[in-house]
C-alpha cells in the first residue's frame, strides 16, 4: 500500500482553511447492470471539513455509488478525481490507499478477535521479521480509539462488547487508514438515542480534523442537524445539490420523490370482493409489533416503508418462515397461522420473496422444475413425476406471463431478472392461491418486464386474487395499490385509500416527519 503521507498530513494540518476545492469529485459517472442503469451521469463534490448528506429513495443508486467509491464496482464511464487528479479504485485496497474509507450499515467484524486485531485486520503493522508488531498495533489502536473518543480496551475480545461499542470498532477500523473521505452508510440505523448523540459528536470531531464526510441517511432530523451540504439522488441521477442552509424539508422531499410519474401503469377498475385475510395484533420479538389489517378479494394492498421497516419480516411470518410471538391470522374466516411455508401454501397464501437469488428460485434447476416445485403433489400420480403434465403447466404460465426463454428445460439462472421473477410468480399461481404476497416484485427487473409484471398483477386482482405488494418504489405503490399501509420501525404508522394519496404523505409517514399519522414518535 503506497500511502501518501505528505498530502494526508497537509490536509490534516490545515483543518480550518475550508477551501472551495473539493477533496473528491465525481464527474459523469455511469454504471449499468444487465437491464438496469444504476447510475447515469452522477456529479458529486465532497469538501474537506464538511458533511454532505446523500438523500434518496431506496434503489435511487446510493449503495451503488458507495460501492464505486470503495473499489467494489468500477464505473462504466466518468471520472473520479482526488484533489483534482484522476484516480481509479480497482480494488478496495486501492480506495483505502487513496484515503477513501467507508463505515457500512453492517460491517463485517470478527467476534473471536480482539478490538486491536479487528481494527488492523489486513493491514497490521509489521516488525522487521515480517511478523505482526503487537505492541505497536495495540499502541496505534489505542491512539485511534482515543481520537474518536471511544473508551475501549484494545485487548478486549470483540464478542464481549455491545452493539454500540462494536460500531465504534468499525469506525476505528475505517479510520485506521489515513482517511481523507469517510463514507457513513446509515450509521445510526442500529443505534439508540444516546449512542446516536455520541455518533454526532464523533462526526463533529472528524469534521474538525478536516475529513470530508459523505453521510447517507433517511432521517431528516439528523440530516438537518449534522450536514453542511446535501445531494439528492433519484433513479440513478443527481437531481439537486447545495447547502443545507438554503433548503427546507419540504423541498428536499419534493426532490426525492419527483413530480413526474415516469412509468405507465395499467388502468384498473378494482372489483373488490369479500374479506379473505384478517391479521390482528401480529407481533414479533424483534422485527415488528402489533400489526393489524385486512385484505379483500380483488384488492391490491401496498405496503410502503423504508428498508428495515419490518415489512418483509411481517410477510415472512405470515408465510410461516418465522413465528409471530403474538397475533391471529385468519384466512377466509378460518383461524390459520401457518407454521411453515408448506402450511401457508395449503391454506392458499403464497409469498414471492424480494431476494430471488437466495429465496425465490433454485437457479441451477430448469425453468419447469422451478415452476412445478410447489405443485408436485397435485401434478404427480402416486408420488411419480409426470413430465408431460409438468411441461404443460409450465407452458401455460410461460405463455400467460410472456416468458422469454430458449427452452423450458433451461436453467432458471440463465434468464434475466424480470423473466426469473415471472417464473417465481408463475410458480405460485400454479398452486391456485387465494392470496399472493409480492415482495419488491420489480426490484432488479428491467423496464419492459416491469410493465409486464404490473399488467399481470392487475389481471390477477381482476380475477379475484387478493394481492399484497411490498414496495419501496413510490410510483409503483401509487400506480398499483387500491390501499396503502405504511410501516416504520416495525409498526404500522398509517393506512390510506389510494384516492388523494400523494408521494409527500408516504415519504413523511415512512421517515417519521410531520404530525397526525397514527401512533408513533420515536421509541
Amino acid at each position: 500500500m503506497a500511502a501518501e503521507p505528505l498530502v494526508a498530513a497537509s490536509a490534516a494540518d490545515a483543518p480550518f482553511s475550508v477551501s472551495a476545492r473539493p477533496v473528491l469529485s465525481l464527474r459523469g459517472i455511469v454504471k449499468s447492470f444487465p437491464g438496469v442503469k444504476a447510475l447515469q451521469g452522477v456529479e458529486l463534490d465532497l469538501y474537506p471539513g464538511q458533511v454532505t448528506a446523500l438523500i434518496g429513495e431506496n434503489g435511487a443508486g446510493k449503495s451503488t455509488l458507495v460501492k464505486l467509491l470503495t473499489g467494489v464496482y468500477q464505473p462504466d464511464a466518468g471520472e473520479i478525481r482526488i484533489e483534482g487528479r484522476a484516480a481509479r479504485f480497482p480494488t478496495a485496497a486501492a480506495a483505502a490507499a487513496e484515503g477513501v474509507t467507508a463505515i457500512h450499515q453492517e460491517t463485517v467484524l470478527f467476534d473471536e478477535l480482539s478490538v486491536a486485531e479487528n481494527i488492523f485486520l489486513g493491514h497490521a503493522p509489521l516488525n522487521r521479521f515480517g511478523l505482526i508488531d503487537w505492541p505497536r498495533m495495540r499502541r496505534e489502536a489505542r491512539e485511534i480509539l482515543a481520537r474518536i473518543g471511544a473508551a475501549l480496551d484494545p485487548n478486549a475480545a470483540l464478542k464481549d462488547l455491545g452493539i454500540a461499542s462494536k460500531h465504534l470498532v468499525a469506525i476505528a477500523r475505517a479510520l485506521s487508514v489515513e482517511a481523507r473521505v469517510v463514507i457513513m452508510d446509515e450509521p445510526t440505523a442500529a443505534l439508540s438515542h444516546k449512542e446516536i448523540g455520541e455518533l454526532y459528536e464523533l462526526v463533529e470531531r472528524l469534521k474538525a480534523q478536516g475529513k470530508a464526510i459523505l453521510f447517507i441517511s433517511h432521517k431528516f432530523d439528523e440530516i438537518f442537524r449534522i450536514a453542511d451540504r446535501y445531494a439528492v439522488f433519484r433513479d440513478g441521477g443527481m437531481v439537486g445539490a447545495g447547502l443545507m442552509s438554503e433548503i427546507d424539508e419540504r423541498r428536499l422531499v419534493e426532490m426525492m420523490v419527483g413530480r413526474a410519474m415516469d412509468s405507465i401503469f395499467p388502468v384498473r377498475t378494482p372489483q373488490i370482493g369479500e374479506e379473505i385475510l384478517s391479521v390482528s395484533g401480529y407481533s414479533h420479538p424483534t422485527e415488528f409489533a402489533d400489526v393489524s389489517f385486512t385484505l379483500r378479494r380483488g384488492e391490491i394492498l401496498g405496503f410502503y416503508g423504508l428498508v428495515g421497516a419490518g415489512r418483509s419480516e411481517l410477510m415472512q411470518a405470515l408465510f410461516g418462515i418465522s413465528r409471530p410471538s403474538a397475533g391471529i391470522c385468519r384466512i377466509a374466516g378460518e383461524e390459520r397461522s401457518p407454521r411453515s411455508p408448506a402450511e401457508a401454501v395449503e391454506a392458499g397464501l403464497v409469498y414471492a420473496p424480494e431476494d430471488r437469488g437466495l429465496q425465490g428460485a433454485v437457479r441451477a434447476l430448469p425453468i419447469f422444475q422451478n415452476l412445478t416445485l410447489p405443485s408436485l403433489g397435485r401434478l404427480s400420480r402416486a408420488g411419480l413425476l409426470r413430465k408431460a403434465e409438468e411441461f404443460a403447466l409450465t407452458r401455460h404460465y410461460a405463455e400467460r406471463l410472456d416468458l422469454r426463454a430458449a427452452s423450458l428445460d433451461q436453467p432458471l439462472g440463465l434468464l434475466s431478472g424480470g423473466n426469473q421473477q415471472k417464473v417465481v410468480i408463475g410458480k405460485w399461481l400454479a398452486t391456485q392461491p387465494k392470496i399472493i404476497i409480492l415482495d419488491e416484485p420489480t426490484k432488479g427487473v428491467d423496464v419492459g418486464s416491469k410493465a409486464a409484471v404490473h399488467e399481470f398483477m392487475a389481471e390477477l386482482a381482476a380475477e379475484g386474487l387478493a394481492v399484497i405488494m411490498v414496495s419501496s418504489e413510490i410510483p409503483e405503490i401509487l400506480g398499483m395499490s387500491d390501499r396503502v399501509i405504511v410501516m416504520r420501525e416495525g409498526r404500522m404508522v398509517g393506512e390510506y385509500p389510494r384516492a388523494g394519496l400523494t408521494p409527500e404523505i408516504l415519504v413523511r409517514a415512512a421517515a417519521g416527519i410531520g404530525v397526525g399519522i397514527g401512533a408513533g414518535g420515536d421509541s
Binding site: 429465496q359 428460485a361 441451477a364 422444475q369 410447489p374 411419480l384 427452452s407 433451461q410
Partner: protein, 334 residues
C-alpha cells in the same frame, strides 16, 4: 374512465420444452466417461489375466463392491441433498454386534435380519435427529456418531467375536439366486432400480435436487426440508443395516472392527459417480458405474497379485484424475 383490456392479436411466443442436441449432450456426459473407463479396465483385465473372464471368478469379484454400493445408493441421495453421513461404517459394526448378541440369545435368521436392518434404521434416525432436528452440520454430527456407534460396538463385544450364525443366515452373503448371480448382486440390482426411480422419477427425488441446490429457496417453495433430510438419514442408516446383514452373513462372524473405514470407500464411489460433493447434482447410473469400476480395479489387480496398499494408491489416483480431468480440459480451452 374505463378501458377494456387491450386485445392481444399476437399469439403467445412458442418456447420449446427442450432444445435439440440432447444426444450429443448425453455423449459428453459423465456417465459416458465412466462407461468408457469401465470398458477399458474390463478389456485390460481380460487381456492381462486368463482367469478374469471366468463367470465364477467374476461373480466372486462382485463382493468387492456390492455391500458398499448398496450404501452408496442412499449416500448419493444424501450428498445430492447437500448432507453427508460418515458413520455408515460404524453403523455396520453396531448392527452386526447387535445381530451377534441376539444370536447368542437364540434368535433365528428372520429375527437377525430384522434386528440388523432395524439397528441401522435407528442409527440413521439418530443422525437425522442431530442434523434435521437440532440443526448440527452433518459432517460434525456424523463424525461424532461414527465414534459413538463404533465405541458401543467395542464395549459390547470387547476383543472377542460373535459367531455361530444359523446356516440359513449364510445365504444372504454366500448364496446364489441364479447361476453365478449372487444374492447380493441381485439385491443390489433391485435396489439400484428402486433408488433410480426414487431419485429420478418421484416428487421426493425432485425435492432432493431442489434442497441440494438451494435449501432456502426450496423451503420458501413449500418443500418440507427437515422432513426430507430426516428421511434421507434414515434411508442411509437402513442401507448400512442391510449391508451389515450381507457382510456379517458373508464373513460368518462379527468383530467390532467390521466395516472399518468403509464410509470413505462409499463416498469415493459416490463422488467418482459424478455426484457433486457440494450437492445438487448426480445420477444413480453414475454411482453404479463407479461401483463397477472400483470393483473391476480391485479384482483385476488382485488377479495380478498386486498388494492391497498398491490398490488403494490406484483408486486414489483414479479418483483424482477422473475428477480433475474435466476441470483441466476446461482450463485448457480458455
Amino acid at each position: 374512465m374505463t378501458m377494456a383490456p387491450p386485445p392481444r392479436p399476437i399469439p403467445p411466443r412458442h418456447i420449446p420444452d427442450r432444445l435439440n442436441g440432447s444426444f450429443l449432450r448425453r455423449l459428453k456426459s459423465w456417465e459416458t466417461l465412466l462407461l468408457a473407463v469401465a470398458a477399458a479396465i474390463f478389456t485390460f483385465n481380460a487381456l492381462a489375466s486368463p482367469y478374469f473372464l471366468d463367470p465364477w471368478n467374476l461373480s466372486d469379484a462382485t463382493f468387492n463392491f456390492t455391500e458398499k454400493a448398496m450404501i452408496a445408493l442412499a449416500m448419493a441421495l444424501l450428498i445430492i441433498a447437500g448432507e453427508i453421513d460418515l458413520s455408515v461404517g460404524a453403523i455396520i459394526a453396531l448392527a452386526s454386534v447387535a445381530m451377534g448378541a441376539a444370536r447368542q440369545m437364540g434368535v433365528e435368521t428372520t429375527g437377525l435380519v430384522l434386528i440388523g436392518a432395524g439397528v441401522g434404521l435407528a442409527c440413521g434416525a439418530f443422525n437425522g435427529f442431530l442434523v434435521a432436528g437440532l440443526g448440527l452440520p452433518s459432517i460434525v454430527a456424523t463424525i461424532g456418531t461414527m465414534s459413538l456407534f463404533r465405541g458401543i460396538a467395542y464395549i459390547i463385544l470387547g476383543d472377542g467375536a460373535y459367531g455361530g450364525y444359523p446356516a440359513s443366515f449364510a445365504w444372504f452373503g454366500q448364496g446364489y439366486v441364479w447361476g453365478a448371480i449372487t444374492f447380493e448382486l441381485a439385491l443390489l440390482a433391485v435396489l439400484a432400480v428402486v433408488y433410480g426411480v426414487l431419485l429420478h422419477g418421484t416428487n421426493f427425488g425432485r425435492r432432493i435436487y431442489a434442497i441440494g441446490n438451494n435449501a432456502t429457496a426450496a423451503a420458501f417453495s413449500g418443500v418440507r426440508v427437515r422432513r426430507i433430510r430426516m428421511t434421507l438419514f434414515m434411508l442411509t442408516g437402513l442401507m448400512a443395516g442391510i449391508a451389515s446383514v450381507c457382510l456379517t452373513s458373508r464373513l460368518g462372524s462379527t468383530r467390532p472392527s467390521i466395516g472399518m473405514g468403509m464410509e470413505l470407500e462409499v463416498i469415493t464411489m459416490v463422488v467418482l459417480g459424478g455426484v457433486a460433493i457440494t450437492g445438487g447434482s448426480g445420477t444413480i447410473l453414475g454411482v453404479m458405474l463407479a461401483a463397477l469400476i472400483m470393483g473391476l480395479i480391485t479384482f483385476g489387480l488382485g488377479l495380478l497379485n498386486v498388494p492391497g496398499v498398491v490398490m488403494s494408491i490406484f483408486v486414489g489416483i483414479l479418483l483424482i484424475s477422473v475428477i480433475a480431468l474435466p476441470k483441466l480440459l476446461e482450463k485448457m480451452r480458455r
